[in-house]
Symmetry: C2
Subunit: 508 residues, 2 copies
């Protein structure tokens, strides 16, 4: 019964539950085939397989797991254009973006292969005995082991890099944890293709079958029951605040609470320092609008908030930004649901008595994002928390301060964010920036100078995280090398004879 990796759904397993269909957001057309929704039995099956796989998989050494991750990367590349084509159909994202995202997905897997080979992830610390000391000091050896099977929720906005074989899966597999992916219903076919690539890699690498499972679950209660399963020891999630909080509540309510790494929402404020704005209003406006329009603004790091002081320089900024946004073509959004939520957000801001719409992009067709730029005063912004809510898409709000020091108050008041950006090129702004940084770093995971938050580099020094509600756990990052630490915990071995020690703990 428990045979083959559980890629449940599709034509291969007759799930008993409501089927999941992809939808082409550009046309609204239902895509074939239907992917049978996983049942509670399917969830139990995937968890049972993961439980069986865990001891075998975690006993593999770093080199074996590194090679496995590289094989997954190869198998994804080997899918060829069918993957890109299907992802285009299901997401409405353009070819170039998806080809780039495939590259990033493959690079993430390779990064973790490198991290594994470097061995530092094991956190080995050896303190040899001091038998002469009073009291005698024992021999103590520490290393990291994986927490156990991990559930990964695929994200809608990165159908490759944050989905079935995305950063959460790559880092959990690197840590030695079997992974059960809950496919995002927005791209079931893309998910299946990548799932089958992983399944092939599992076979080629001779890994236990339950090291990877893929489930299609099309109701929230079922997805949460996966989080509740006692086999599961950690969860990775990227998506909406409501869904993230529901997962966290479920995880905390278990008999054994488990860590949840939920990356939830962020409005990514961009601060235009006054002298810099005076000097470069037009250039910054161009860069800002470029970042805002990229991918229809469907990024966790979309710059949704711009903070600047009123006056002539800001007017010049607005003039250029307005021109660019007004001329911008509408872009297809990922799903009808995301488009509807975006429209609602735009209406909420547009209809707000204290907010002015200062620009909107060209109108679009089915499920297309019409970019929008709004403006409000600092006083009005802080008076209504609704204005600080994320509106997922190419929508941004300019918060107009009366004077530059108001930026400090603003920072004190905002919630946790993934990023914040400072535009500072003029010496006259330096003093204020030196006051801003220590306050700002308490609120964010990453601070950028003179750039834009979109385009997250996958490296060793990256932090894609931040205080609540940007994420549920600010102590980590979901992008970059340090993401592996999320799925590890330390164990100490005291006075172990050499023969019983793991290889990496032997010697001194």
């Amino acid at each position: 019964m428990l045979s083959g990796n559980q890629i449940l759904g599709s034509q291969f397993v007759q799930g008993s539950e409501n089927a999941v269909h992809g939808i082409n957001p550009a046309t609204g057309e239902l895509l074939e085939p239907a992917y049978a929704g996983g049942s509670h039995d399917d969830i139990e099956k995937a968890c049972a397989l993961a439980k069986i796989a865990f001891p075998v998989y975690r006993a593999t050494n770093s080199e074996t797991r590194a090679a496995f991750l590289e094989t997954i990367a190869e198998q994804i590349v080997a899918l060829g254009d069918i993957l890109i084509q299907r992802a285009m159909d299901e997401s409405g994202l353009p070819r170039a973006r998806l080809e780039g995202e495939r590259g990033r997905t493959v690079n993430q897997l390779k990064l973790f292969a490198t991290i594994l080979r470097e061995q530092e992830w094991q956190g080995v610390c050896i303190e040899t005995a001091l038998p002469e000391r009073q009291p005698p000091k024992p021999d103590l050896r520490m290393r990291n082991i994986p927490l156990g099977p991990v559930v990964v929720f695929g994200a809608s906005n990165f159908p490759l890099a944050f989905s079935v074989a995305g950063g959460d899966t790559a880092s959990a597999l690197a840590a030695g944890a079997p992974v059960i992916v809950k496919a995002h219903t927005a791209h079931p076919g893309t998910s299946e293709l990548v799932g089958r690539a992983i399944q092939s890699a599992v076979k080629i690498a001779g890994m236990p079958e339950g090291v990877f499972s893929l489930l299609y679950l099309n109701d929230h209660a079922k997805a949460l029951s996966l989080v509740s399963n006692p086999v599961v020891k950690a969860v990775g999630f990227t998506g909406s605040r409501n869904a993230g909080l529901a997962i966290q509540r479920t995880a905390f309510a278990r008999a054994e609470p488990i860590p949840v790494y939920a990356e939830m929402s962020s409005i990514n404020p961009v601060f235009l320092l006054p002298h810099t704005l005076q000097h470069s209003a037009e250039t910054i406006a161009q860069g800002f609008v470029g970042s805002l329009l990229m991918g229809a603004g469907q990024f966790c790091t979309n710059p949704g908030l711009l903070v600047a002081v009123k006056g002539d320089a800001l007017n010049r900024f607005k003039e250029v930004a307005t021109g660019l946004i007004t001329g911008s073509a509408a872009q297809t959004m990922l799903t009808p649901g995301i488009h509807a939520a975006y429209e609602k957000g735009v209406q909420r801001l547009g209809g707000h008595s204290r907010v002015n719409k200062i620009a909107e992009g060209k109108a679009g067709t089915t499920n297309q994002c019409q970019a929008a730029l709004f403006e409000t005063s600092y006083a009005d912004f802080i008076a209504d928390p609704v204005l600080a809510e994320e509106n997922f898409g190419s929508s941004a709000l300019i918060v107009v301060c009366d004077h530059a020091e108001q930026m400090l108050e603003f920072i004190e008041r905002i919630e946790g964010q993934l990023t914040a950006t400072l535009h500072v090129t003029q010496t006259a702004d330096a003093a204020l920036v030196k006051k801003i940084i220590p306050i700002l770093e308490l609120k964010v995971g990453r601070i950028l100078f003179n750039g834009y938050p979109t385009g997250v580099e996958v490296g060793r020094a990256m932090v894609h995280g931040g205080p609540f509600p940007a994420t549920s756990d600010s102590r980590t990052t979901s992008v970059g090398a340090a993401a592996i630490k999320r799925f590890l915990r330390p164990v100490c071995y005291q006075d172990f004879p050499e023969e019983f020690l793991a290889e990496e703990l032997k010697g001194n």
Copy 2:
């Protein structure tokens, strides 16, 4: 109003709430003076002070903080015998133990001073820009910053090493976090003395006053309201499971959930491998009883469970253990409440239809722990979860297996533990031990060979932690160098001009 470090309670601040009195557990006598309980206003005051202190304190460099920790250590030593005397009066613990514990407390502070000077705690990672790459790679620099003010709950059983200036306080202060200690009501005078030593160190080192506060809170709701205060960003706790879970629930229910490091309960199973038991039953019995009786068993790592196979060797073990326990003098427990709970636990086991009491120590006087050794079968143990509950004190339960492989099933069934111990000196036991270790390490924070879990070495490779319910967060340790990581999170600085970078992030 907010003047001086908030050592609230004692004769210095007229708290409005019910006063806390120390009790000499050896006599039941109420100790003077009364320590006025902190009010909600006092909690607000301590939090307001911590908030003000945080930016100033976290901006200090590693050397400044290291010197501050060393000054705290000096000030504790400078208290002299008054501290030991007061701790003896309040805890019933003997002089030698408390002198040793003072040494450990001082060494913990010095360890974190060393860790600070080594700089590795900062987690600095620098990736310089690659402007020629397509797309250009930005300059990325990562470092750790403290989460924010930390609340520490003093533990009853280590009035020095796990209390006001204990491991949680030392590691949080090292991380750059102001600390608010909720004094354990079992040793208010000891707490005040140590609190004043820290207060002196704060003055000598020129630290902001709110870097340390001490509160006496004698009802649970008030203690939990401290956890709920938005200024507080993490909690350290050592104590009972019920209290730990209540703190965790409160922390998770906040608008901004925060990490809780609660070290809650553990029965620390000791496994006697059959051939080793055959060979060394008498010696192991001596060591085991020594560990069980130490400090009246009032340790998180007390060996409360002994697992062995039935037969002649176990009978020899029991004979020696019974003799030693029967002859053992009763020892004063920490508080009347702990003594009452111990007695209740002993009665619960003694009155259990499937449990035999095989030995008890000499009867004692007021609040004294009469050691007890019980026995049950593997089948009976797994049939009733009550038998796996911690009984804080010199009480242990022998679980008699029918055959050695049953140890594997046993391990699968137990909850998370701080420690587990294997007694293995005979080659014939090696094969089973190699099966045990990979299962056991999923359940515990530390595995010991041929020793006893009491006596936790404060070092770099120590893990005093473990899966739930041993702790609320298995990814960390509350003893040893790695404890500092609990109060840190990473931040990434992208494309920062040199002048805006923190010192440790400059250069490449």
